[in-house]
């Protein structure tokens, strides 16, 4: 058991940190970038591709780097530190992750190569106005006509959905929920993009008999394999990546708050002379370090091949609670300036709030954990089901 990064991982962290610090170390620059479509900087996206970041979790045979969840966590944390708006988790971890998990060898090469090279942005069109963090599709249906499939229905909100070159779409078939690939210029595809409160972009994506290709080849021609478990697993890996992104964001929010407390003066003294404030900052630190532990651990569980769905729920719960605590206190300890868009700290709260609602909030994770709380007397983070093969009784 070891919580230290190795030297290659440290190098990756420093490289990504350097790149993103140069791009967004100045919060004003991030505001400028996020005001204009597509909501992120195409040049930074290209540099991330050059660095190998966009192909990190994919097999080398598919055009990727052959790295894993630890490296993804490292990148995600650095993204969180400066609130880099590039859709790394959305395009690489989630949409790309689904292609890697479900796609045929041909599809993987066709889609993941360009994604890794930065020439194609992927997005996962899954959320629907009438569903709430479910892994199954309900409102978009797939119809088979001869050898071809078409999709009909509405997906919203789809993160990075307007900018994406290729959409991975979940849809209802006779076999359950299947996954499809839809090109950005397909007929019958209407995309209406908009800004989200955290500076990101989402879209309403409407399908009207839109041509689509089935992702993967499981099941029968009329009843393709149900991909709900694959989506659940991809969600888990994305939740873990978001947990690490949240840790990076919380870290900066706390650091910014501490700096503010030592410089801002009221009643003739700096704010850190008020114990009512410093104790609250100390509690923020406690929340941050506990969340960091679980986020790192969940990344290790994913890396070791343990029960990633349960580990992701645990990380989700911990970072949800911590994100709200730290985000809210960061604003309160700053005072009015924390609510402005002109000062950076409030943007961290906004981003943490967005992360909290993309793939399930803390109560959602808690409900799932509570449903199985009676199945085990204790939780052993180094044993079954989290560390496969560990221990004689695992």
């Amino acid at each position: 058991m070891d919580f230290q990064f190795d030297s290659e991982q440290n190098d990756l962290r420093e490289a990504v940190r350097g790149l993103l610090e140069r791009a967004y170390g100045d919060a004003e620059e991030r505001r400028r970038v996020t005001r204009a479509d597509p909501g992120f900087d195409e040049k930074t996206w290209a540099r991330l591709a050059e660095m190998g970041v966009l192909g990190l979790p994919f097999a080398e045979a598919d055009g990727g780097m052959g790295a894993g969840p630890i490296e993804v966590a490292i990148v995600a944390e650095q993204i969180g530190r400066v609130l880099a708006p590039e859709p790394f988790v959305e395009a690489v971890v989630l949409a790309g992750g689904l292609v890697a998990a479900v796609g045929t060898a041909e599809q993987r090469a066709e889609l993941l190569g360009p994604l890794s090279e930065g020439s194609s942005v992927l997005a996962f069109a899954h959320a629907e106005p009438a569903t709430r963090w479910s892994a199954a599709a309900v409102g978009v249906t797939a119809t088979r006509d001869g050898d071809a499939w078409t999709l009909t229905g509405v997906k919203e909100p789809v993160l990075a959905g307007a900018r994406a070159d290729v959409l991975v779409v979940s849809a209802v078939t006779g076999g359950g929920t299947a996954l499809f690939v839809v090109d950005g210029d397909a007929t019958g595809l209407t995309r209406t993009g908009y800004r989200t409160h955290d500076g990101g972009r989402a879209a309403n994506v409407t399908f009207a008999a839109t041509p689509a290709r089935l992702l993967g080849d499981g099941g029968s021609p009329t009843h393709p394999a149900d991909r709900t478990p694959d989506i659940e697993r991809a969600f888990a890996l994305a939740r873990i990546a978001y947990a690490n992104e949240a840790v990076g964001a919380m870290d900066t929010a706390l650091r910014t708050t501490s700096e503010y407390l030592t410089t801002r003066k009221q009643f003739g003294v700096t704010l850190n002379k008020f114990q009512a404030l410093t104790f609250r900052a100390a509690d923020m630190y406690v929340s941050l370090e506990l969340a960091r532990s679980v986020a790192l651990w969940a990344s290790m569980v994913a890396d070791a091949g343990g029960d990633v769905v349960s580990a992701a729920d645990r990380a989700r719960l911990q970072t949800s609670r911590a994100g709200r605590h730290i985000g809210q206190e960061a604003i309160q300890l700053h005072g009015g300036i924390g609510v402005t868009a002109e000062y950076k700290v409030g943007h961290y709260t906004s981003r943490l709030t967005a992360i909290d609602h993309v793939l399930g909030d803390g109560d959602f994770a808690l409900d799932r954990l509570a449903a199985t709380v009676g199945d085990h007397p204790t939780v052993d983070p180094l044993g079954a089901p989290y560390a496969p093969g560990a221990g004689v009784d695992a």
Partner: protein
């Protein structure tokens, strides 16, 4: 980054688990599992069973019975001990005065005390807090005045845990009342509790038990050779001792056991025609505490796994703070599971209320102490704000 324990550490964990669950008297473990107070003899028997196997003082220098384990091995040792409901070796002996003597004592003191301290042949108690010196320990007023070859001690200590069983006390005394800083005029003295002039008054706690005491000193004559370290070096020693006191204070293993107990009891308890564990609010509450406990355990593992270079990990200050809060959350949970049965707290014979429900509230009330002792949680917040956040 690696999740699994190495095969060697897995074997080590198994070895610890086997020892603690088979080699410590079962009736003592049952008493701990039932959350009943142990008697002096129970502590002594348990510690001697550990010491006979070399497992009472693994963190001491090898020369005096230590094991030269890594911080992670010590962590595993402690966790397995708590999970098996084995009473931990007496902290006053093994975590406090033992390491102090090994570090600051002279050769004669080491030879005279250390082996007996490890085996609980001497039971030590802690003479630190005073009525006007709690979190502000350096304000202590008990004096020791040199008189020929002796020190004459006068004053009062309080919160002296299990002092009623103690053979000896290690006692912070003011030896230089004129020192410029109050921290500079303090020394550490050792003396037997049956020395003339020492009297002890037990303090009854809310749980009906007698765990702490006041200790009064009236012209207590202590031989000069019983000074530990240098005269007026007591504050340095006290800080060293309190640093050790916080090691292992997260008590993850104990809280884990309490949560597993809470699940069993909530399953056996019927509310509204179904097991209480099936109530979504109760299940959610347990699951939330369980996740917090996981976060704490992982933080403790991060601290021990990455503190090999001897410097304390910054996150270590989180352990006492959240560890105590979770112990309190678990004991509160057990009271709420007991519900109205918790009122039968002092029932003796003739009550149909099960034992676990009777001990729940006394223990809950007793456990309010854990966020107060060992550096109160407010002291921990001051440390975090000051030394980590620079506030």
């Amino acid at each position: 980054m690696r999740l699994q324990l190495s095969p060697e550490l897995e074997a080590f964990r198994e070895e610890m688990r086997t020892f603690f669950t088979t080699q410590v008297p079962q009736e003592i473990r049952d008493t701990v599992a039932a959350r009943r107070h142990l008697g002096k003899d129970d502590y002594v028997r348990a510690q001697r069973a550990l010491n006979a196997a070399g497992l009472a003082v693994p963190h001491w220098p090898v020369e005096w019975g230590g094991k030269d384990w890594t911080p992670l091995q010590r962590h595993i040792w402690r966790e397995e001990m708590q999970l098996a409901c084995v009473p931990e070796p007496l902290a006053f002996n093994t975590s406090m005065i033992g390491p102090v003597l090994a570090q600051f004592g002279n050769q004669e003191q080491k030879e005279r005390y250390l082996a007996k301290t490890a085996n609980l042949d001497i039971w030590w108690c802690q003479g630190f807090s005073e009525p006007d010196a709690g979190s502000d320990l350096a304000s202590l007023r008990t004096t020791a005045v040199r008189d020929g070859d002796d020190w004459i001690v006068n004053g009062q200590k309080t919160w002296t845990t299990l002092g009623q069983y103690a053979d000896w006390i290690f006692c912070l005394c003011r030896t230089d009342p004129t020192a410029e800083k109050k921290q500079r005029g303090i020394s550490l003295l050792l003396f037997p509790m049956d020395t003339p002039g020492v009297t002890l008054r037990p303090i009854e706690l809310l749980d009906g038990g007698f765990e702490v005491n006041e200790v009064f000193f009236e012209d207590v004559r202590v031989p000069a050779e019983n000074l530990v370290g240098e005269e007026n070096q007591g504050w340095t020693i006290a800080k060293f001792l309190l640093g050790n006191e916080r090691v292992g204070i997260a008590r993850v293993g104990t809280t884990k056991y309490y949560l597993s107990l809470a699940k069993d009891l909530a399953r056996q308890t019927t509310a509204g025609g179904r097991p209480l564990l099936d109530d979504p609010r109760m299940a959610g509450r347990i699951a939330e505490i369980e996740n917090e406990l996981l976060a704490l355990e992982l933080t403790a593992l991060r601290v021990v796994a990455n503190s090999a270079d001897g410097r304390p990990h910054p996150a270590s200050s989180v352990l006492k703070l959240r560890g105590s809060e979770l112990q309190q959350a678990a004991t509160e949970l057990l009271v709420d599971i007991a519900g109205p049965l918790s009122l039968a707290s002092f029932a003796d014979g003739g009550s149909e209320v099960p034992d676990w429900a009777r001990v729940a509230t006394p223990e809950y009330l007793n456990y309010r102490k854990v966020s107060i002792y060992g550096g109160s949680n407010e002291v921990q917040r001051t440390i975090i704000a000051g030394t980590i956040l620079g506030l």
